[in-house]
């Protein structure tokens, strides 16, 4: 499959009467966005706001972050099986509003929404302090259950991202990047001497507010399967989960999966990026055994020489990570795993809930228990009411001077386990 990504850089975002992109400025007609979201009868009100890099703004509790994109050539549309009809995406051409993002927030759903600071020390820990954000503060109908609430917020974010992405349909991208993955036999013939490298992505699927969707299918219900890495660039995988903010993959990170991009960067040079395999992280032992068996089997079938395995979440999925690593290594395939750590606030405890000697090549997103004090911000989008109960916060962690002390666990994207961030630990 061959996909062209055409990038339209966005350097500013503002409100206006007509939504458009001009000279790198994304102008948004907030009334149209509101009307679009309020079509969902589960939502009673939405406030549309803007947060730019460097501003004294805090967004919390953050649920998801999505990049506006549009499919301009080739089959299917953005977020197939969810917003667009089901069709295989990942080929043709897609335009991207690079530098823009949709951020969803509002009254809490679970305990695991995040904090996103646009400036100050907290901004260093989240990649979304660097994007021009359209923020949706969503209030659901009274009495709406948490699962429906999460679903409504998820869809509102995706719909808004699609609406903004459409603005890029007829624009001329500043740069175009081409990604191509070849069928099994063609890849072998074209790169006979290069190591065949695969990427195993573990999708958060512990269930009930810890879900990920693949072409609209709940990842709990999938068996591990093979994808073209280009499919994720068209929104084939979306986040529906409220795992700790630091190490869940927002939809934006799925769209821009950095392992996919960094493997493509060397594809055809010193490696052959042969396949992407997705698997899940279900809570039952039988599911863990089955999925890791299946993943290792696929790696074997595909004749892979090396595999990068990424985790999502922590604790319970550490077991899936170790099972995958052990079983893939047992097939004579070289592995590298990416995870993050919960070594305690003092960094003195063991970092993982499970371990295996085969995981001898590990990349870490850092210790999520590290404590940080975030400065007072001039403006809060959403509410700081929950900073004491979200994962990484504690009772009375908001101080009189307006500063907030949390573990970086509470910061959206701080310890990315697909390696989207620069943080690490030793």
């Amino acid at each position: 499959m061959r996909l062209e990504l055409g990038y339209i850089p966005i350097t500013d975002i503002q409100f206006g009467d007509v939504s458009k992109v001009e000279n790198g400025v994304l102008t948004v007609d907030s009334k149209t966005v509101e009307a679009l979201i309020l079509k969902d009868e589960r939502i009673v009100s939405v406030k549309v706001d803007i947060a730019r890099p460097g501003e004294s703004v805090r967004i919390t509790p953050v649920k998801d972050v999505i990049e506006p994109r549009v499919k301009v050539e080739g089959p299917g549309g953005m977020f197939p099986g969810v917003i667009s009809p089901v069709d295989t995406v990942g080929s043709g051409r897609t335009h991207v509003l690079k530098g823009a993002a949709v951020v969803t927030t509002g009254r809490i759903v679970g305990f695991q929404e995040g904090i996103l600071d646009m400036s100050g020390i907290g901004a260093k820990y989240t990649p979304f302090s660097q994007t021009n954000n359209l923020v949706l503060v969503i209030t659901p109908r009274k009495g709406l259950g948490s699962h429906e609430h999460e679903h409504a917020v998820r869809e509102a974010g995706l719909k808004t991202a699609v609406y903004l992405g459409e603005l890029a349909r007829d624009l001329v991208p500043e740069t175009v990047e081409v990604f191509e993955s070849l069928p099994f036999m063609d890849g072998l013939k074209k790169y006979p001497d290069l190591p065949r490298v695969g990427y195993v992505q573990m999708l958060q699927s512990q269930g009930l507010l810890h879900d990920t969707y693949v072409y609209g299918v709940d990842a709990k219900k999938i068996l591990p399967t093979i994808m073209s890495p280009t499919e994720v660039m068209d929104g084939a995988i979306i986040s529906g989960n409220c795992v700790s903010a630091c190490d869940k993959n927002p939809t934006y990170v799925h769209q821009n999966n950095p392992i996919v991009h960094d493997l493509y960067a060397r594809h055809g040079k010193d490696l052959n990026f042969a396949a992407m395999i997705i698997t899940n992280e279900n809570v039952y032992l039988a599911d863990k055994v089955r999925s890791s068996d299946w993943t290792a089997k696929l790696c074997g079938f595909l004749g892979l020489d090396g595999v990068i395995i990424s985790e999502e979440g922590f604790g319970n999925p550490d077991t899936d990570l170790m099972m995958n690593c052990r079983k893939i290594t047992d097939r004579g395939i070289k592995t590298v795993v990416i995870t993050d750590e919960y070594a305690g606030q003092d960094g003195a405890s063991q970092s993982l809930a499970d371990a295996h000697e085969s995981a001898d090549a590990l990349v870490t997103g850092g210790n999520a228990n590290q404590v940080i004090t975030l400065p007072r911000m001039d403006r809060v989008i959403g509410t700081e009411e929950y900073v004491g109960i979200i994962a990484g916060g504690w009772d009375q962690n908001k101080h009189e001077d307006g500063t907030i002390t949390v573990e970086i666990q509470a910061i959206t994207g701080a310890t990315s386990e697909v390696g989207f961030a620069y943080l690490s630990a030793r």
Binding site: G110, F111, Q112, K124, S146, V197, G207, L208, H210, S244, P258, I259, D262, L263, A265, R266, L271, G306, I308, F314, G315, K334, T335, V336, T339, Y342, A343, G344, Q345, D346, G347, A348, S349, Q350, S351, A355, E357, D360, L362, V363, T364, G366, A368, N369, I390, A391, G393, W394, D395, Q396, E407, Q409, E417, V418, G419, F420, Y422, S424, A425, R426
Partner: protein
């Protein structure tokens, strides 16, 4: 700002007194820098001065450790240093041990920052890596220039009380304490680079060596369960509604002890979960799903168990450090033993 005052420790060899045959020499003090101290001194430039050097033979130190430490600290105290440096010892075993030991003693007695350097396989490294900063050096004095560069840089940071970075940034031997740092490359690129090295059979360094797990052997079965007093303990976060002890939704630093007297089941009007790692809907609707008080009461009534212990213990096992969890259990287990509880049902989520 006045110059930082440093006292430096070296052995008889680096003081050019002699080799093994002179290892018996007792502690002595000399003004200014000696041997490797000269290189260290020039690395500090005008920021710090090596005001004095203490010297001791390796055999003397290791065979008369208490006496050697006492004499050396006497000399060091008089020189009024702001910082103390020992070595580097490279792979010299007794010298490495001496460097670690004197550093530890000086920090304790004089309350000043200390620093040494040695090869990772020096026995002194294993003994003191968790106690003092030890710059990782090569295994012989060939690595002096590199060692001096790293030691002088970290020494200044220590003396100026600047924040100390991760071991990979500063060059010290990991202390078993995880420290965050920002890398130049994002995680995904580091993973691809590491995989390529592994595929080519080249050396690579994992960012987290696998921990050794503390395995707990199962206890023998309870002889007569129909007579046993059983307690419920959970990491599933079940607490009285309102979470009176404010147990954190993640990374718990405390646990709660709650009375079950007269409680036959956990009503949704009285109990909920504080746990932030799973969907709370079903636990909040019926907390017995996590902490099975209802079934235990039934078993109690039917004579299937002796009795349910009057209190249950609860914490949140979400991202909670093993050290904290261990400390909780050590504390409440005492009560369980005192109260003759014979078995515990531990539920997670």
């Amino acid at each position: 700002m006045s110059k930082i005052r440093i006292v430096h420790y070296i052995n008889q060899f680096f003081a050019q007194i002699g080799g093994e045959e002179m290892a018996h020499v007792p502690p002595e003090y000399r003004d200014g820098a000696v041997g490797p101290g000269l290189a260290l001194g020039s690395a500090f430039g005008d920021k710090a001065d090596i005001v004095g050097t203490v010297i001791c033979g390796d055999s003397y130190f290791n065979e008369n450790m208490e006496d050697a430490k006492k004499k050396l600290i006497g000399f060091i105290r008089k020189a009024k240093p702001d910082l103390f440096i020992a070595g580097p010892a490279f792979n010299a075993g007794r010298y490495g041990v001496a460097c670690g030991a004197i550093c530890e003693a000086v920090r304790e007695e004089l309350k000043i920052p200390v620093l040494t350097g040695m090869y990772e396989e020096n026995p002194g490294a294993d003994m003191f890596r968790q106690k003092v900063y030890i710059i990782a050096t090569r295994n012989s004095a060939v690595g002096m220039r590199d060692a001096v560069k790293k030691m002088s840089a970290l020494a200044l940071k220590l003396a100026n009380q600047e924040p100390i970075g991760a071991s990979s940034e500063e060059g010290y031997i990991p202390q078993g304490i995880r420290v965050n740092l920002f890398e130049e490359d994002r995680g995904s690129k580091r993973a691809v680079d590491m995989l390529m090295k592994k595929l080519k059979g080249k050396p690579f360094t994992t960012e987290y060596p696998m921990p050794i797990f503390d395995r707990v052997d199962p206890q023998p079965a309870v002889k007569d369960i129909t007579k046993a007093k059983i307690a419920l303990v959970t990491s599933g976060g079940i607490v009285p509604l309102g979470n009176p002890d404010h147990i954190e939704s993640s990374s718990a630093t405390k646990y709660g002890r709650y009375d079950l007297d007269g409680v036959n089941y956990l009503s949704k009007d009285a109990y909920a979960t504080a746990h932030g790692g799973y969907d709370p809907s079903y636990a909040n609707a019926d907390a017995d799903r996590v902490l099975a008080v209802d079934v235990m009461r039934e078993f109690e009534k039917d004579g299937k168990i002796g009795s349910l212990y009057r209190y249950f213990f609860s914490t949140v096992g979400n991202g909670t450090a093993v050290k904290n969890a261990k400390a909780f259990a050590e504390e409440f287990s005492k009560e369980l033993i005192e109260e003759n509880v014979q078995a515990v049902i531990l539920t997670s989520t």
